[in-house]
């Protein structure tokens, strides 16, 4: 199943946020969206996931999702969005409650998702008892439980410390390794984009337009090797040179707001 951003333009009142953004996320492909602060990255993701109506243009799907997918487009949120009154297990089961699955089938999906994210021993804990990294693991586990075709990840690591970020990044690489699941990965962190994405969509300062779409010239598996480090760094520098001046302008604009 492909996800297509088709000429998406969005305004919040008088404020133009996105301007004619078009690109396609192919089946199993990971596309990162980067750009200066306030360029509309998260707004674009909300539109792609059907949580926000664009002013014009539309998100579209092409092809059928995998037969076992319960929620083809599934978000992983920056702030985790966990139900604080529910245990880890209940949080992961939450999106399955309204499906036609039996209790046993739900249990099997939850068990599998918890196992894949290393949360099996934490199933009875409440979110407030977990660290930020573990909370995001619950968010990922919840997303995996519905077997998504495409994960929509809105800066999923930005609320975490650098060590936890590194560990979760390794998890993302592992989860996306088999190509069965695609992702749109919104981030301001160029290193994350370079490590995870097949292609990187670079947006301009607000209103966000596509400045460039860059292909990462190696497989994700190869990026862990020492020889790849230099190429990835060069790619990051190339993206940074594209957005640096606009990032400075955007930062000043935010400070003066």
């Amino acid at each position: 199943m492909d996800l297509i951003a088709s000429h998406i333009t969005h305004r919040f009142g008088d404020l133009a946020v996105l301007d004619d953004v078009s690109f396609t996320v192919g089946a199993g492909e990971v596309v990162a969206i980067v750009g200066p602060s306030g360029c509309g990255k998260s707004t674009l993701l909300s539109i792609l996931g059907g949580l926000l109506q664009p002013t014009s243009g539309a998100p579209e799907l092409r092809g059928a999702p995998p037969a076992d997918s319960l929620n083809p487009l599934t978000f992983v949120f920056q702030d985790f969005a966990l139900l604080p009154w529910a245990t880890v297990e209940e949080n992961v089961e939450f999106p399955l409650l309204h499906t036609r699955l039996s209790a046993a089938q739900r249990r099997a999906l939850v068990d599998d998702a918890l196992r894949r994210t290393g949360l099996t021993d934490f199933r009875a804990t409440y979110p407030k008892q977990l660290s930020g990294g573990m909370r995001q693991r619950v968010g990922i586990s919840r997303a995996l439980a519905v077997k998504p075709a495409i994960l929509l990840m809105d800066e999923p690591l930005s609320a975490l410390d650098s060590q936890t970020r590194e560990l979760l990044m390794e998890d993302f690489v592992r989860l996306l390794a088999d190509g069965g699941m695609g992702a749109v990965y919104v981030t301001h962190n160029l290193e994350e984009a370079a490590r995870l994405a097949d292609r990187i969509v670079v947006l301009s300062r607000r209103p966000g337009r596509i400045r460039e779409v860059m292909t990462v010239p190696m497989t994700r598996a190869a990026r862990g090797e020492a020889s790849a480090r230099e190429k990835l760094l060069a790619l990051q520098n190339q993206i940074w040179s594209l957005i640096r001046n606009e990032a400075i302008d955007a930062e000043r604009e935010v400070q003066h707001a």
Partner: protein, 274 residues
């Protein structure tokens, strides 16, 4: 480098002194028995002043006299007669007002149309002292239990509706968007996200409405009732039986405390995740 080493050597020979602790106080905590000790102290002084004849028993009976009055009321059966009448009015009035308040509060919290209409009416009617409506309610509903119960229900309704829609408004939108992103149906979002999310505000509202119900039952019983704690207190006042009057006040206070404890227990049970 040499200078620094010399300075350090001199410094090591000087006597040390502890850094003064400056972080005491400004902690919103109370000592465990402080309140009870203060209460006992006040009662003891009150009793001593009454026993020594420093205070006229007609104006302020001693705590012992109040306890005796409560005991006599209990033995004679009058306590239960008055208390049961008040409890019935509070119970029925509170339940009716709460049920209506929860329904209307949720409607306002969830529907744009209900919000526009509901908030206008609530803003206009909430500030009216509900006891002022009792004569009108007597005219409409007769002189039985109905107008008293309706007065309590009205008072409880407005506070409940406000606390419920405030609670619904306070549910983090990101949780609702999360549920929508999984195609969770509206009814499940209300049941699994909005209801538990609004529960802290709703329970806080219950504390307020319990006090409102107590206030209104006493006022309503003072205006038109033969039995009930309010009627009893008024009657005792008219007959200058201040020990009986204060016995009624103490019973009201104990009732308020018990309700507070019950709501506290509910909060502990239902909001353990906080």
């Amino acid at each position: 480098m040499l200078d620094r080493a010399a300075t350090e050597a001199v410094a090591k020979n000087e006597a040390t002194r502890p850094v003064r602790f400056r972080g005491a106080g400004f902690v919103p905590a109370s000592s465990r028995y402080g309140g009870w000790i203060a209460l006992a102290l006040v009662i003891a002084i009150w009793q001593a002043a009454g026993s020594a004849g420093l205070v006229n028993a007609l104006f302020l009976p001693t705590p012992a006299a109040i306890v005796r009055a409560i005991y006599q009321l209990a033995v004679s059966g009058a306590l239960w007669q008055h208390l049961s009448a008040s409890l019935l009015r509070i119970g029925v009035g509170w339940l009716l007002g709460t049920a209506a308040g929860v329904v209307v509060g949720f409607a306002i919290g969830l529907s744009r149309l209900a919000r526009s209409v509901g908030i206008t009416f609530i803003s206009a009617l909430f500030p009216i002292p509900k006891i002022a409506l009792l004569p009108l309610l007597i005219l409409w509903l007769g002189i039985g239990e109905e107008p008293k119960i309706a007065t309590i229900a009205l008072g409880v309704f407005f506070s409940t509706a406000i606390s419920v829609y405030s609670g619904v408004d306070a549910v983090p939108r990101n949780l609702i968007r999360m549920a929508q992103s999984f195609n969770v149906p509206f009814a499940t979002i209300v049941r699994k996200v909005i209801w538990p999310g609004a529960l802290p505000a709703i329970l806080a509202g219950f504390r307020i409405t319990a006090s409102v119900a107590l206030l209104l039952v006493v006022s309503a019983e003072m205006i038109g009732a033969q039995y009930g704690i309010g009627a009893f207190v008024l009657q005792a006042g008219n007959l200058m039986q201040t020990d009986q009057l204060l016995a009624g006040v103490v019973i009201l206070s104990v009732f308020g405390l018990v309700v507070g404890k019950v709501i506290g227990w509910l909060e502990t049970r239902l909001l353990h995740w906080r």
